[in-house]
Symmetry: C2
Subunit: 97 residues, 2 copies
Amino acid sequence: MSAPLTIVARIEARLEDVQRVKAELISLIEPTRAEQGCIQYDLHQDNQTPQVFVFYENWESRELWLRHMESEHLKRYSVAIEGAVASFTVNEMNCVR
Amino acid sequence: MSAPLTIVARIEARLEDVQRVKAELISLIEPTRAEQGCIQYDLHQDNQTPQVFVFYENWESRELWLRHMESEHLKRYSVAIEGAVASFTVNEMNCVR
């Protein structure tokens, strides 16, 4: 029921919007880390293809991650990056070890 | 020169080989965590598509990660999973925050 959840979220920005998307992703970190159930929320940028970002996230439960997905800061982000993201994938995972 | 490095390695097993690949991936954990420069080496399996695995790795430097890529256990793994992996991608990343 309330097993921990790992999220690997991959965001690929449009080449002309990398800095704008990066700033918006950074703006998510502080309010998300303050959310209930957030254990880890680390943003990474690819060294070879800087338009590729990955959030590595650990949550106490899927329920609390779903609550995060409905948060005001994520809604604000979605509006702010409209048209600037080429692709977005999210994997819901469990930590094997 | 010796900046820390994050690796996001995505391994997709062939459907008929998921358990075999998983066992081989697990066998990498202990010897890799014992390697010089390894800060974190966590294996994850996708909840919706269990043939998808992700290693989330943090290394003290790219040099020490490259040494890991030449390790005996990784060579043994490469032989063991031959023909059982549908796709493999690795992203070299830096932690923004």
